[in-house]
């Protein structure tokens, strides 16, 4: 596994606390890490799957497994899969709402090595055969970090607009993608490039200050060597 991380600020993205991470979020209780963070993990997974979630097999690790039920972590994850935000007063009713929306889910326990105590692994499917496996952790104060996507190590937070590019491992691919972004005056805040082996599939994770409009995303998707792109837009202020 080769993991290459660049950052302009000399700090990892999870260290970048803005003051409204501290005084906030405005959220439904009882736990910022176990409830609000779990809603965000669910919502992130829904976005990265790119469609309505039809089945969800969710594994809880560490403190999520030990104390998750009483904190409503299970209800919060499902609420996020339904597209809710952390301040939605319907979070406690998410299991009932999932039934109405045709979302089938189950929960299990997993023991991971070197994972944050508040970690969940979500295996999702939409109705059309699209699958996503995402490992994410709730790192405090409702902030999250996506740790793995389909077993490839990543490390992004949703604090920025995030573009994920699945591409072939060919030279110059990164330059092509960043050229499209700079052409649209979109500033890259953090970028990481991950691949499982030389010549294999590459996952580019690009966090940007500005929103990436659909037209720029389709230009990138159409680049030779790009298999697909996924986009997460950060929560509105």
């Amino acid at each position: 596994m080769i993991l290459f991380v660049m950052t302009k600020f000399g700090k990892g993205p999870t260290d970048m606390l803005d003051i409204f991470d501290i005084l906030g979020p405005i959220m439904v209780g009882p736990s910022s890490s176990h409830t609000a963070g779990a809603v965000r993990i669910g919502n992130m997974a829904r976005t990265l799957l790119g469609g309505e979630v039809k089945t969800a097999h969710i594994l809880l690790h560490g403190s999520f497994a030990e104390t998750g039920q009483g904190h409503g972590t299970d209800r919060a994850l499902v609420a996020g899969l339904l597209g809710m935000k952390p301040d939605n007063l319907d979070i406690p009713r998410s299991f009932e709402l999932a039934k109405e929306h045709g979302l089938a889910f189950d929960f299990g326990v997993i023991q991971l090595r070197d994972a944050h105590p508040n970690t969940a692994v979500l295996n999702l499917e939409d109705g059309g055969g699209r699958r996503l496996k995402m490992q994410a952790s709730s790192v405090g104060g409702g902030r999250i970090r996506v740790d793995k996507l389909d077993d490839v190590d990543v490390g992004f937070t949703g604090a920025f607009n995030t573009l994920i590019v699945n591409s072939l491992d060919v030279s110059g691919e990164l330059a092509e993608v960043s050229r499209e972004l700079s052409g649209a005056k979109i500033n890259i805040a953090n970028m990481s490039l991950c691949r499982s082996r030389r010549g294999g599939a590459v996952l580019m994770v690009i966090e940007t200050d500005q929103r990436i409009p659909p037209v720029v995303r389709s230009l990138i998707t159409e680049l030779p060597g790009v298999a697909r792109t996924t986009y997460y837009e950060k929560e509105a202020e």
Binding site: I22, L23, V28, S32, H71
Partner: protein, 292 residues
Amino acid sequence: MALDSMQEIFDKIDRFGKPFWEIVLDTDVEERQVTREASFEKMRAAWRAMLETDDTYRADRRSVSGLVGGDGRKMRDYASAARTLSGGYVSEAIAVALCTGESNACMRRIVAAPTAGACGVLPAVLIPLWRGGQASEDEVVEALYVASGIGAVIGYKACIAGASGGCQAEIGTASAMAAGALTALRGGGPAQIGHAVAMALKNLLGLVCDPVAGLVEVPCVKRNVVGAVNAISCADMALAGIESRVPVDQVIECMGDVGRRLPVEFRETALGGLAVTPFGQEVKRQMRGSQA
């Protein structure tokens, strides 16, 4: 956020000749690329959400386990009927801390500050001053900037999650934020704010996170009270000219170090402390039973 230490904030206060809260506001404006007005209004919205939690408190609500609810009302009833030991301001701070903490446990909307478990500390010290006409809304919002700047530094240098550093990282941080906010609100200078933060954090150093049945209920709700009362006393000490012997940035780093060394049983796993008392285990057994 680009404020990595309390010293950096103090240096910027000296360099730019601005108060503590404005250095934090400037940093937010730069970091998030927003206008000063947008930043200030977002902070005002957080303040109003804190007020709404307390305004919509109902004593008949109960938490998932049934262990939490109604104590905020008891405190207010007692304070209005009897001569309290702690006096008007502190009694009301206790009541607001309880009402907000209980609301959180009952899945109501709160403002995490810095976490949901510690959401009662800042409202507890600020709401009674504002209701009593001792601070305008803008002054309270400015105090919240001071609090959030302190919290951002602690989050960067140490940690703010119970799962990472125990209760000292949650209630301890909230208390330090509140102590700094109160000191600023009462006209204390940067050095005094630093001493208030250092004293508040030191006083709660080592506090474990040991929630009964893993719920943010017992002892969390009442620890909001201790965070608030600790903040008030540390702010008063700092305003009296009392200093922390250990410099504030060293105290913050020390809190992070203590957190990392805390056994996992005392970091929100509900495997130690009050969670494993006979009472705690009985609650856990009942919770499991009710879910089966």
